[in-house]
């Protein structure tokens, strides 16, 4: 599809090139959100062998906390009112991420820890059940209308050469890059090494004195925090101009194709898969519209990630970077 878009751009001249560049930039920004979600999912999966279907609900909950802190209670802004507005909002968002990380800890302890070693079906279902509970409570907290997040960037756009990304998109990309660097540094730290060791071989790690339970808790806390971050950025202007609403939780289901494309147990794959899914969805939204494509109906861009996933899986059943399961008799 990218090739097709390039050809289209050459034929159409400057306007088409600009359209393509803008689609690419917003695709990368969307991909950054998916990459954050996918990163959290893969961290949790690698550490605990649990695929967290409740990720979207946790993301929406985090976005709700950010909206509530920033617009209703003005925390911590009310104590640091001398700081610039942008910094105050960032602080509220950070507090929201921390609260969500703590909720991730609690969820792991209450619902996931008892399920370690249970059959796959039960573990899948327990996260789905968590998704139902958290999503319903979040919906109720949000109320009937979407809640604006009160971010300082609003609907502003920048002009960088031919592209004009929204300010929030630039912020998303910067935050994602910072997060990726942070995660990479974390993996070099004492706790990160413990987590990698546990993911690699749980028994050997425990024999070395690593507490597997603490690693599980850490993975869920980080995963939930990343989900909240992604939830916040998926509830601001271009994604959802009105703020966090009931649909925010469903948004995160599209990160599942991202991690499948990358391979469930590969961090690199998750990030790459996130960007692939983001670009595919944006290009489908930009180019597959109009009279020629009207047979596709509404909302085709939303199913594009799943179609890409099916195609990748048909070629590589364990994703691009996933380790193939070795079957021994």
């Amino acid at each position: 599809m990218i090739v097709e878009a390039v050809m289209f751009a050459q034929a159409g001249g400057q306007d088409a090139a600009e359209k393509f560049a803008n689609a690419t930039s917003s695709g990368i920004a969307l991909g950054a959100i998916y990459a954050l979600l996918a990163l959290g999912l893969v961290l949790i999966y690698k550490a605990t062998q649990v695929l967290n279907f409740a990720h979207g609900a946790i993301a929406a909950l985090g976005a709700f906390f950010a909206a509530y802190l920033a617009t209703v209670v003005n925390f911590p802004g009310r104590y640091v009112s001398f700081l610039p507005i942008t910094l105050q909002w960032i602080l509220s968002a950070l507090v929201a991420v921390l609260i969500t990380a703590v909720i991730g800890l609690v969820l792991e302890r209450l619902a996931i820890r008892p399920m370690i070693g249970e059959p796959l079906f039960s573990v899948v279902m327990i996260t789905i059940a968590l998704d139902i509970v958290i999503r319903t409570i979040t919906d109720d907290l949000i109320g009937t209308t979407p809640r604006p997040l009160g971010d300082p960037w609003g609907a502003g756009h920048l002009a960088i050469g031919p592209i004009s990304p929204a300010k929030t998109e630039v912020a998303t990309l910067i935050v994602t890059i910072l997060t990726l660097i942070g995660i990479a540094l974390f993996f070099r730290s004492r706790y990160g090494v413990a987590m990698r060791a546990t993911a690699f071989d749980q028994e050997a790690a425990m024999a070395q004195g690593i507490s597997a339970g603490r690693v599980f808790a850490m993975a869920w806390a980080i995963g939930a925090g990343l989900a909240a971050l992604a939830g916040i950025f998926s509830s601001v202007y271009p994604r959802s101009a009105l703020g966090v609403s009931g649909t925010t939780a469903f948004f995160a289901f599209r990160a599942l194709p991202a991690i499948v494309i990358g391979g469930l147990d590969s961090i690199t794959g998750a990030v790459l898969g996130g960007f692939i899914v983001g670009l595919a969805e944006t290009f489908a939204g930009v180019y597959l519209t109009g009279a020629t494509w009207s047979f596709l109906g509404v909302g085709f861009a939303g199913v594009m990630p799943y179609i890409v996933m099916l195609v990748v899986l048909l070629i590589r059943p364990y994703g691009l970077f996933g380790t193939e399961e070795i079957r021994r008799v």
């Binding site: 509970v133 919906d139 109320g143 059943p317």
Partner: protein, 412 residues
């Protein structure tokens, strides 16, 4: 033999549908009760003859038929599927294209029920068999995500194929339950209108309930028979240890494809029945939530058993009604004055904007969950509770009760 209930001297008697006399009598009594429910003659269960309860019981029957399909795929063959709603949708829309009325914008052939009902199962099975070879390439958690993708893609197809489905939010009318030989004006047997059968005045709800009960019994017998024949044993061997099964000569891919096809056939017929029973379906109905509902039926009832599946279907479908009645009761105790119970329910129920509580009885923005949300939360919490504390589900609870009474008054 009467004193040795577990002694089987022939293979066929051990593999019988109902191997013991106790089971035969219990099944007969239970079926008898189910049949006479709509006549309201059972003391204590008379309220079940009300039309709204009959509707709920009919819905239980439809969902049980669909869940029996998932039981074959997930319970017997051990394949995690979140895509059951897609096959239910395929069946429903096959039924409506064959049996529905055509209009300027909609397709419909207005064929009789004996064509559209089997056809909906067949087409769904065909679609299942087409998708299965791709799905069985992936295993475990990958399969769960692929089937999840199937639901989202399916929902989009249903929303886009306006000529078949009536389009998003609008939906379309489904054929009613009525038996015709061909397209004659007055049906031979009309299940969707009140009338008398053999001199007994019956409502349309009662007729529909009895019809669906017959379908359910047939579905149970088919599912049970699948379980105890060669293919069912192949499914179970793949579930328990797929490599060992392959070594023993069970064709892995072929069995999984058959499991998908059989499961989709049940799902498709359940979809057709659901459409005819509800009268109108919107494409958004075949969503992830419906798939989850089927999986929840299996897990709450007890994975891998037919009786567990039936128990689960009854539990999951009746629960919303019980929650609704319970909140109604709480709200009425709050309103009806003072006393201990009124105070207790006052803590739970929110009756206005300023009154905090878990459940709200007012529509709109009052604090607290509304009845629908409370339902969803309870449903999720129940699933979590069952998975953590009773992985065998309701069936497991029943087994424990039975074993306790078997040795009564001794505990061993």
């Amino acid at each position: 033999m009467r004193n040795r209930p577990r002694l089987f001297v022939t293979y066929s008697s051990e593999m019988a549908l109902l191997p013991t006399w106790t089971q035969k009598t219990a099944a007969a009594i239970f079926l008898g009760i189910l049949v006479i429910i709509p006549f309201g003659v059972i003391p204590g269960l008379g309220f079940l003859a009300d039309n709204d309860w009959l509707t709920i019981l009919s819905r239980v029957a439809v969902y049980a038929i669909g869940a029996l399909g998932l039981h074959i795929l997930s319970g017997l063959a051990g394949q995690v599927s979140l895509g059951h709603a897609f096959f239910v949708g395929v069946g429903a829309y096959t039924a409506v294209i064959l049996g529905g009325e055509a209009s300027r914008t909609l397709w419909g052939l207005a064929l009789p029920i004996w064509i559209w009902l089997p056809a909906s199962g067949l087409v769904a099975a065909l679609v299942g068999a087409l998708i299965a070879p791709a799905a069985v390439r992936v295993r475990g958690i990958y399969l769960a995500i692929v089937t999840l993708g199937l639901v989202f893609i399916g929902e989009w197809i249903f929303r886009s194929a306006v000529a078949m489905t009536g389009g998003a939010q609008a939906g379309r009318e489904f054929p009613a339950f009525a038996f015709r030989f061909w397209k004659e004006e007055t049906p031979l047997i009309d299940f969707s209108a009140d009338g008398s059968w053999f001199g007994i005045e019956m409502t349309s709800e009662a007729k529909t309930y009895l019809l669906l009960l017959v379908f359910l019994v047939v579905a149970i017998i088919v599912a049970k028979n699948i379980q105890r024949t060669r293919i069912g044993r192949a499914f179970m061997s793949i579930r328990d240890r797929d490599i060992a099964a392959e070594v023993m000569g069970v064709a892995d891919t072929r069995s999984k494809v058959i499991a998908f096809a059989l499961s989709s056939a049940f799902a498709g017929m359940a979809g057709a029945l659901l459409g005819a029973f509800l009268g109108r379906l919107v494409p958004e109905g075949f969503s992830l939530l419906m798939s989850i509902q089927f999986v929840a039926i299996l897990l709450i009832g007890g994975l891998g058993t037919v009786s567990g599946t039936l128990l689960g279907a009854a539990f999951v479908i009746i629960l919303p009604r019980l929650v609704q009645d319970f909140t109604g009761l709480l709200a009425s105790t709050v309103e009806s004055g003072t006393g201990f119970f009124s105070t207790v329910s006052g803590v739970f129920v929110s009756t206005g904007l300023e009154d905090p509580g878990i459940v709200s009885t007012l529509p709109g923005t009052s604090p607290g969950l509304n009845v629908f949300q409370l339902n969803l939360v309870l449903y999720g919490l129940l699933l979590i509770g069952f998975l953590i504390f009773e992985p065998l589900g309701l069936y497991g609870i029943w087994i424990r009760i039975r074993n306790y009474w078997k040795a009564w008054p001794f505990t061993y």
